[in-house]
């Protein structure tokens, strides 16, 4: 059984910065959807996006030059600084010896897509002579984790995990392994992605973008809305968190990673991969499905995802019991590689605060999604065990389980 403490949370989302803002916003059902500002959508069939508003990188990126990196790195550094502060750690007070034991692992879908989009602009516009040295220093996705570590002087293990829309959970799983193996004493683990025309165009081509609202699990759901953001968790071995007197939001009890090995963009029709990920996570956590109080759904709001996720949830939990399951993507959209990291923070907060956020925009029930999806209203309830689900292109499935800290059980 795993015992890794979550001691800090950092969030940069389309409904605000910091869990002090984001959490009440989620409980109140705030919407982060606006007309896309980053690029012209006049030739697209949809126009809404979930961009992070009023974000000033210079407020967060203090040691490295702001223009030396791209937007996902800015968002990641902001979330990382918030998470550390939330964990009661001042990066300026970390000794060099301790910093050698502090690592960073981040997930992403597209890395820094704005940089390759600029390359495309130059190539298509026959202006390649304008390309300078910046691309190699701003584009490769591993720069996100590297920039976070350089900014904070974290000299321990550093790992980028680009496993698309399940990447936040994959990075958390990597962080857990690094801590359990004694490779680090503290890991910042999370995910980051920036809004991009490529992502928007691609999902549009797949017909996966909703024109108006994201309605996970509802009968007339029409798709997801792409978003951006970053979520970062401070992870420590529970005994070291306790010995420094840290507040522990939740502990990570286990995780399960599986692959459908079926199709790049379409999930397996019987939900086998997601079910195996949930079962593995329960098994490594020494838990049964009955122990789970709350499930944070992948819940993109596409017709297929929500139907198959329902099938998988039924396989794991049985049809007799309706575990509360909600999707915050109904409010902040699909933040890609950041999504499951932000949702991991939601699981930790649900345990710590005794509330679960709603699935908004839920109108007509869908018999194919016969779940208790906590429709439209946050619910106050004791949460002892929360499961965080995430699925991705490539057939990647990831479930991470959080539980109430043992000291408070």
């Amino acid at each position: 059984m795993v015992s890794i403490a979550v001691t800090g949370l950092g969030l940069a989302t389309p409904i605000g910065l910091g869990h002090e803002t984001v959490w009440p916003g989620l409980l109140a059902g705030r919407s982060g959807f606006r007309t896309v500002a980053l690029f012209d959508t006049s030739r697209h069939g949809t126009h809404l996006g979930a961009e992070v508003q009023d974000f000033d990188p210079a407020a967060w990126v203090r040691r490295l030059p702001v223009p030396s990196m791209s937007r996902a790195s800015h968002l990641a550094i902001a979330a990382a600084r918030m998470a550390l502060a939330d964990a009661g750690i001042d990066p300026e007070q970390i000794t060099p010896e301790a910093a050698e034991r502090f690592g960073v692992t981040m997930g992403t879908t597209s890395g820094e897509p704005l940089e390759i989009e600029r390359l495309s602009d130059l190539m298509v516009g026959d202006r390649l002579d304008e390309l300078g040295p910046e691309l190699a220093g701003r584009y490769p996705c591993h720069l996100i984790a590297a920039h976070v570590a350089s900014e904070l002087r974290f000299a321990g293990p550093n790992q980028m995990i680009p496993t698309a829309c399940a990447a936040g959970n994959y990075a958390i799983a990597f962080g857990v392994e690094a801590l359990l193996a004694g490779r680090a004493d503290l890991m910042l683990a999370g995910g980051a992605d920036s809004f991009s025309r490529m992502t928007y165009t691609g999902f549009g081509k797949l017909g996966a973008i909703a024109p108006d609202l994201v309605r996970p699990f509802a009968k007339n759901r029409k798709g997801m809305i792409p978003g951006e953001g970053s979520g970062v968790l401070v992870l420590e071995r529970t005994e070291s968190a306790l010995s420094r007197g840290a507040r522990i939001y939740a502990e990570i009890a286990g995780y399960g990673l599986t692959c459908d090995a079926h199709h790049m963009t379409a999930a397996h029709p019987d939900g086998d991969g997601p079910a195996r990920a949930m079962e593995r996570a329960l098994q490594t956590g020494g838990l049964s499905a009955d122990d789970v109080s709350y499930v944070s759904a992948h819940g993109t709001g596409t017709p297929t995802n929500d139907k198959l996720e329902t099938l998988a949830v039924h396989r794991v939990f049985g049809r007799g019991r309706k575990v509360p399951i909600s999707s915050i993507k109904s409010m902040i959209g699909h933040t890609m590689g950041a999504a499951s990291a932000i949702e991991a923070a939601v699981c930790a907060l649900a345990i710590h605060e005794g509330w679960i956020p709603p699935t908004m925009n839920y109108d007509e029930p869908d018999p194919e999604c016969d779940l208790d999806c906590v429709p439209n209203q946050a619910r106050q309830m004791r949460v002892d065990v929360a499961m965080n689900n995430a699925y991705a292109f490539g057939g990647n499935n990831a479930s991470v389980i959080f539980r109430r800290p043992h000291a408070q059980a």
Binding site: L152, L180, G395
Partner: protein, 416 residues
């Protein structure tokens, strides 16, 4: 806690010097250079016109007559080596015989396909958003090759992609081994892939990191690891996978064992300057410690040095400090990127495969083209010629890599 031994039971690779591990080992020993004029794209805007290109790469040879259209070059490379690794390890046969065990995959890559991503975006720009290719979009995620390989070979276990520039491939092997040690997986295909393409090459060229000096000048520079006249790296490509397996699983099915993964360590250089040497030394020390306080003698080092002006010097300094700390100063050191180019995610696997071959026959390739090292160069074990190492059972080989962006890694392989 569960701590299992991890062994290597199968190999697959595609490199500019061939697709057979033994033949590539012989080519490296003979000092053959796989870095040649680039034909995959027009290299005239690059400082060097040479790269480590796989030519010809006929995916049909490995993948048969099935529909390859949805697969880009990166996916084809990875799927090809996965097939060979499964065959070599005996897992092909075991699965055909009814073994239903889940196989996992850990792929190191920096870009997956920067070319596919660029093509997707450029098509949308030129023709409009309705005319982009759904195939290209599916392949535009950085875990696309890992996903495609899982589909092709029915790998239903953990499927992770690890990005870290020059360290990616070794990162994936280290992670795969950790997953087996802690019981998260029994069998992991671990390694990496990278394609040679215009987009990544122009990025490095404009950043002044490729060999060859000014664009338009004659010559292709000197991408020779540790050489005093080195002036950058040659871009490369390839793919390689090791089949990593819990020793108990391998023994139970009577698999041949190439080597044992003895330990690994990773560290980061936040200042991205001289602290690279300190970081790599820490990574080496961590790898040594994770080997259970140093069972076995360190016999040789396979460095990730590429001809990069500063990075090679830092890597040499880091290796020297690491070797001194573990009492192995002066052991033979090689670097094979003069032969193969800098293939990022694939390079770490090439290093691993080369060291596994050395642990089998005691012959370590030389550093092709090495003429004279920097003044005060700290490693006495480098040589342009192949070297002989006396391999004892359990003898260790160390692979190292530094990414220009901060990550460093060290991995220890042990002779069976």
């Amino acid at each position: 806690m569960l701590r299992r031994e991890v062994v290597v039971t199968g190999l697959g690779l595609l490199s500019p010097l061939g697709d057979e591990a033994d033949a590539v080992h012989e080519a490296l020993l003979a000092g053959e250079i796989g870095v040649k004029p680039i034909e995959l794209f027009d290299p005239s805007l690059l400082t060097t016109k040479n790269g480590g290109e796989i030519r010809p790469f006929e995916a049909e040879r490995y993948l048969g007559e099935r529909n390859l259209r949805p697969l880009d070059r990166t996916s084809r490379l990875l799927i090809s080596v996965a097939g060979r690794a499964l065959e070599d390890s005996g897992w092909d046969e075991a699965r055909a015989g009814g073994d239903r065990r889940e196989l996992s995959l850990a792929v190191g890559t920096t870009y997956c396909s920067m070319h596919t991503i660029g093509e997707f975006d450029r098509r949308g720009l030129k023709l409009g958003p309705n005319y982009v290719s759904p195939f290209d979009f599916a392949n535009s995620v950085i875990n696309a090759a890992a996903g495609q390989a899982a589909i092709w070979h029915k790998l239903t276990g953990i499927n992770s992609t690890l990005a870290g520039g020059e360290t990616s491939g070794l990162q994936a092997i280290a992670y795969g081994a950790d997953l087996i040690r802690t019981g998260q997986a029994d069998v992991v295909l671990a390694g990496g892939v990278e394609e040679l393409c215009f987009e990544s090459s122009i990025a490095y060229s404009r950043a002044g990191r490729l060999a060859g000096g000014e664009v338009g000048t004659e010559g292709n520079g000197r991408p020779v690891p540790f050489d005093r006249a080195r002036d950058g790296f040659a871009p490369g490509e390839g793919a390689g996978l090791l089949v990593l397996e819990a020793a108990e699983v391998a023994e139970a099915r009577g698999a041949k064992i190439y080597a044992r993964i003895a330990g690994s360590g990773a560290a980061f250089a936040p200042e991205r300057n001289g602290d690279f040497a300190a970081a790599l030394a820490r990574a080496i020390a961590a790898a040594w410690t994770s080997n259970g306080a140093g069972g076995g003698t360190l016999l040789c080092v396979g460095s990730g040095a590429s001809g990069a002006r500063e990075l090679d010097a830092w890597e040499a300094a880091g290796i020297a400090r690491g070797l001194e700390a573990v009492g192995a100063a002066g052991v033979p050191v090689t670097a094979i990127k003069a032969n193969l180019g800098e293939a990022l995610g694939a390079s770490g696997v090439f290093q691993a495969l080369s060291l596994i071959a050395t642990l089998a026959d005691g012959r370590l390739p030389g550093i092709a083209g090495l003429d004279m090292t920097d003044e005060g160069f700290p490693l006495s074990g480098v040589s342009a010629a192949a070297q002989i190492v006396t391999v004892t059972p359990g003898g260790l080989a160390l692979a190292t890599a530094i990414s220009a962006d901060g990550p460093t890694i060290a991995l220890l392989f042990a002779a069976p």
